[in-house]
Symmetry: D2
Subunit: 237 residues, 4 copies
Amino acid sequence: MTSPVRILIHGASGRMGQALLRLAAAQPETFEVVGAVSRKPAQRVIDGVPQFAASELNGAPAFDVLVDFSLPEAFDPVLALCVQRDTALVSGTTGLSEAQLAAMRSAAQKIPLLWASNFSLGVAVLAELVERAASALPGWDCDIVEAHHTQKKDAPSGTALTLGQAAESAGAAVHYASLRAGDIVGEHLVQFTGLGERIELVHRATNRDIFARGALHVAARLAGKPPGSYRVRDLLD
Amino acid sequence: MTSPVRILIHGASGRMGQALLRLAAAQPETFEVVGAVSRKPAQRVIDGVPQFAASELNGAPAFDVLVDFSLPEAFDPVLALCVQRDTALVSGTTGLSEAQLAAMRSAAQKIPLLWASNFSLGVAVLAELVERAASALPGWDCDIVEAHHTQKKDAPSGTALTLGQAAESAGAAVHYASLRAGDIVGEHLVQFTGLGERIELVHRATNRDIFARGALHVAARLAGKPPGSYRVRDLLD
Amino acid sequence: MTSPVRILIHGASGRMGQALLRLAAAQPETFEVVGAVSRKPAQRVIDGVPQFAASELNGAPAFDVLVDFSLPEAFDPVLALCVQRDTALVSGTTGLSEAQLAAMRSAAQKIPLLWASNFSLGVAVLAELVERAASALPGWDCDIVEAHHTQKKDAPSGTALTLGQAAESAGAAVHYASLRAGDIVGEHLVQFTGLGERIELVHRATNRDIFARGALHVAARLAGKPPGSYRVRDLLD
Amino acid sequence: MTSPVRILIHGASGRMGQALLRLAAAQPETFEVVGAVSRKPAQRVIDGVPQFAASELNGAPAFDVLVDFSLPEAFDPVLALCVQRDTALVSGTTGLSEAQLAAMRSAAQKIPLLWASNFSLGVAVLAELVERAASALPGWDCDIVEAHHTQKKDAPSGTALTLGQAAESAGAAVHYASLRAGDIVGEHLVQFTGLGERIELVHRATNRDIFARGALHVAARLAGKPPGSYRVRDLLD
């Protein structure tokens, strides 16, 4: 029996951080959360997990993978720590600058690193299926319809664009449509239409926990991998 | 047992006319086609049905309802004949002028008359359901997504707009999206989204015969009705 | 401006009771929760709402409608109180005995009363649409497919059977299929298939709050209605 | 520019044979139909294609691939001819005996050979996607729902079982549901359900031409391949 993957969670007080802590605690054979880093921890230990302030980051205990869902201004020391300790990094922090993205690419030559905007395993699988379908069905029309809650500002969604790029990489021309309605967590339909037949590939998210669950999935598989820049798709079973 | 409804078909050589003749012939207990009017009939009788040129329209035998799918330039004598004979008129001729629409409204005071752009019974039922759903679910978001073959130029489809008006008449604000792909005959989704739940009302057409079938359905029910302007919805079972 | 509806919640410590309290508190202009009844209240007042033990039920303050989601063994005094006070009763308590059902029918001659197994407004609307579609589309095939989480034991779901009865009351013969998968909250598809066309009527639930929201919706509308036995469908807008 | 693939069509008078002739004639740069074999040809040449009776099979002109949609009793000489001429064979003839299946496996050591029950390219793509999804999503529930016209006797459909085997080969346990309604040509939904998310993979057929189109697709690609037993999936782009 293998020992659990040691995880350091950065951004522990945010919505994703809280979900990560809750879901990792439910799988003690797979994950050991060695520390939770947030701006101002309320206590030194919460639910058995040692808490650290951002300023204490470099004193964090040994870990196999750092999982980071925080803000761009806190990102640089996170990346530096992983390189220094030679550990894996999983990050879903959005809004990184060009310089930060370049630093990430450079770090990927030394450590295994995964950055993604959507950690749902289902979406990662769908992207792979979309690419395969597009390459096998040249000449079929490709439409992507996505639906999200009314608070979502950008359209098409980043995930729709990712799926579209998967289709385009295999030669399809993609048409997008976006619906904004109610409190829909997120739905994506990729439709390939030929003559007399049609394929519809759909992903429906009903619970935001899937993003934390997917981040833990890739964290467990990224630890110990060779250096490089990984996608969620690369770490599916 | 009642005697069959006597039908005169105008525009008999067109795609709809041919489908009407074929489907009416398959229901001899319900329909008796007393004549088929086209520009230049190839023979005097085809498959047992007397053929008439447009110029012979006024000499057509007695009928209960005239079913017209032809062109605007041939419409005026058709309307005049129905008023003169005091019979019902079902028409799906598109591109009528303002004057012709006014003449139709005026004729509807004397004869039962139905004009529609879509004769599918399913679409008519859907329009009724959409109106009811919109009135029962105030505050829910309403989206209409329609898909048709790539040859279709207008978007949203006329049917999507009709469904949207049904929703709007009950207070909904409607958002439209259109897909043009492959050889899709016609699909319409009307989606009402609330918090934590959603209703999807869908119509899928796979065969153009449904339009001729619907036209015969309303023809059988319009004959003998009081004068007035009817919709397909008004003649559902 | 009208004054809020005064609600007494019975079964306040259960999942539905807690959701009712939370959602009613968010609409202070519409609802005033005058009391919460549970087996053993932890405090006399919680979040501003007076708490009562079941044994104190008869001493509850004046209310317009009692909303009951509890257990059969606690039901009789609830029904008696509403009749005695001449108030409305909304109940979703399941497992009532024949005698209790008979008592409810009898009470409905004196007070407005609504009992339901599913309080989703969307499902109530769908049932109405299904009945209408079935009556307008005689001869079309009717299939119901429902999907729920793997913990659900009964199949087809009670809601599927209710929808099926709506179709059957209009003459349709219904075929059922059930899926049990993942953590699906509840989905129902009612499909009417003709020749060359098809109507699909779908309800998707993604959040259990819809049941509490629907119960509050009908509670607000039932208060002050004439005596009788009501369905959720009867109190839609 | 390559010369067209020379095709001999066996079973030319059947529904598939007629569709093959019509669709091949529309792509003269890709296909040259060198002959059409049927029980009793009405003429020696129809639409420019030489006609042969089954008894004249061995005198057929040179071809690259034989496409056979006929009956088991006519199959043996077809297989023998392809082996003798060292050409490819595409067959969709159903009801073959165990001995015929064994002869086919043996012949596949000498010629490229493809037998399938469903020649839709979309279905072949879907089977590949299903296998990939099942392997990438261990532990997710897998349900297959198929819908066909009311004349279809077997359930689940052969295609549903093929899709199910693709999922099972990757470790999934599959649950099936079947609908028989109206004149639905054929629809298959393969659904993978996890916690909080779901993938739906759908194929919809609206026109039977897709089977002939798929048979021509594989015929063009099978000609010239090494000996072996191929699936439609193996000849996708």
